[in-house]
């Protein structure tokens, strides 16, 4: 009897444990939707999604609630980060996996772990005191889209390098001896064998890190200038949707607050789509 009761208790708590993450996800969606509701009802969706004008007010008819410029800014800043970090990380991965002496490649990986461990606010601070003044020399004030891209690139670089390196070593373990046996040069091996074999994992890694960049707040907020507008060049100041939330959330009220939650909901939606796409992809791979 005692045994079955304990067993029941344990099974019960395990079920609770298994349900907890689902409940948490649902309540995040739920609370965001509840808080965003006034905006979803009172602000036309077309205005939120397609208009760039952002002049928030407490009442819906007094302000402009366009999130479009900020959505575009979010996408631009993460895309730019991936464009900068992707090639550098890919080449670094090749070097660490195929060219460097083992000790050196371990050293690079250790450095990447250190870089990955830095808090985003520290990287943002570096951007603010080092990158922004440098860009400011070229075009004042230096707080701009490009600065955001550089800071985010520094943030996602280590994850990419590690992902690429791990993938490349996997391929190398299988095929490098065979390639050496038929006399392939290392560069030929990388270009003809490693690259095609890693096409999908590379895209996966870029998407995962791009998603991280999309959700990053503080590092970006500190360097992009936070002006709400469509970027027309790398030197334009922009305000991504995450920065908007962090800037205005502390004092927003009424529809203004609801629109910020709507922005968060949109961001969560984009991230959810990415996660679903990845999961489906993995399942197809596994099949």
């Amino acid at each position: 009897m005692y045994r079955t009761i304990t067993e029941l208790g344990i099974k019960g708590s395990l079920v609770a444990g298994v349900v907890a993450p689902i409940v948490l996800v649902l309540s995040i969606f739920g609370f965001l939707t509840i808080e965003a509701w006034p905006a979803l009802v009172d602000v036309p969706w077309a205005e939120m999604l397609f208009r760039p004008a952002w002049h928030p007010a407490v009442e819906a008819d007094q302000g402009d609630f366009g999130l479009a410029a900020m959505l575009v800014a979010s996408l631009a800043v993460s895309l730019g980060a991936v464009l900068i970090a992707g090639p550098v990380a890919w080449l670094t991965g090749i070097w660490a996996a195929f060219y460097a002496p083992p000790r050196w490649s371990q050293g690079v990986l250790r450095c990447m772990e250190l870089l990955a461990g830095l808090p985003s606010v520290v990287i943002g601070f570096w951007g603010l005191v080092q990158v922004v003044p440098l860009l400011g020399e070229l075009a004042a004030p230096g707080t701009c889209l490009l600065a955001g891209c550089i800071v985010l690139a520094a943030m996602i670089l280590p994850g990419l390098v590690i992902a690429f390196y791990v993938g490349m070593r996997g391929v190398a373990a299988e095929l490098q001896l065979a390639a050496a046996a038929v006399g392939l040069r290392r560069w030929t091996f990388v270009q003809r064998i490693v690259r095609p074999a890693l096409r999908q994992p590379t895209v996966d890694a870029l998407i995962v890190q791009g998603g991280r960049a999309l959700g990053e707040t503080m590092a970006v907020l500190m360097v992009v200038g936070n002006v709400v507008q469509f970027p027309t060049s790398w030197w334009d100041p922009v305000r991504p949707i995450t920065a908007n939330i962090a800037l205005e959330m502390p004092y927003a009220e009424g529809i203004h607050r609801a629109t910020l939650f709507a922005g968060g909901l949109m961001l969560l939606g984009v991230i959810a789509l990415l996660v679903i796409a990845m999961r489906l992809q993995w399942r197809r791979e596994g099949a």
Binding site: R3, T6, E7, I10, S13, L14, G17, V18, A20, P21, I22, L24, V25, I28, F31, E35, V88, A89, L91, T92, W95, Y99, A100, V108, C111, M112, E113, L114, G117, L118, S120, V121, G124, F125, V129, A154, P158, G159, A163, W187, V190, V208, L214, G215, T217, M218, M222, I245, A246, P250, L260, F261, G264, L267, L268, I271, V275, I276, M278, W282
Partner: protein, 285 residues
Amino acid sequence: MTDRWSAWITGTAACLTVAVLAWIAADLIRGVGVVRWQFFVHGPEDFGRGGGVAPMIVASLWLVLISWAVVIPLGILAATALVVGRLHQWPGLRWVEWALDLLAATPSVVIGLFGNAFFCVALGLGFSLLAGGLTLGCMTLPLFVRTTQIGLQAAVTQHYATASALGLALPTTLLRIVLPAAGPAMSAALILATGRSLAETAALIFTSGYVPRMPLSAFDSGRSLSVHVYDLAMNVSGGDQAARGTALVLVVLLLAINAASRLLLGQHGIGILHSVNVGRSNTRA
């Protein structure tokens, strides 16, 4: 292209990559002059230009401990359930995996929005360390579950068949054999989650607030070390040096945490750390 050229090109890229780290480190190191022992025991003066960071250290401790209260019980249960459930082929486990992946990918600022709506407003906790810590708990849950799960899976693979053959009941197997065997992985998971909490800024600004005072209880608002760095960098002219010092303290703390988790996980753990860093779930067989 010859191998020599490609070695040069890739080598240059590697140098560039490491140079980023070196650049950031070189800037932070300039703040070392600020960090004396008084820095750890005094509160900030003159809006943080002088004085120390004692209240921020205490606030960070509060936040971490409160997040543990969410992460440890929920996380161990969820990880155990995932492993046991897979063994017994429970239905619907896939959804839990999806939920964890989604949670892990959710931007911290969105979790902060949830924390503000739920803990601060709906539960009436206001801007408090309690609300901030609970938010951090929700944020670090997937990381903790994933890392614990790896240790549990190994323990189950190793011992479960034997235990069943001996006729041990599920509770005995779990409590006496599997969970102890997964101890190091759990500690490592906790350390990783702690690191993530200490590094967080965005989710805290509108949950625990940023009062730069010594918090007297969990219901007070408090400013974490990371939020202090942000405030000094953005809002205090002449605060850069203090920001460097505070960031240095934070980074050294995080390095110690990373080293500890590496020790716990051993050689086997490098892979875990990598997959956690890469953000890809590693539970696929």
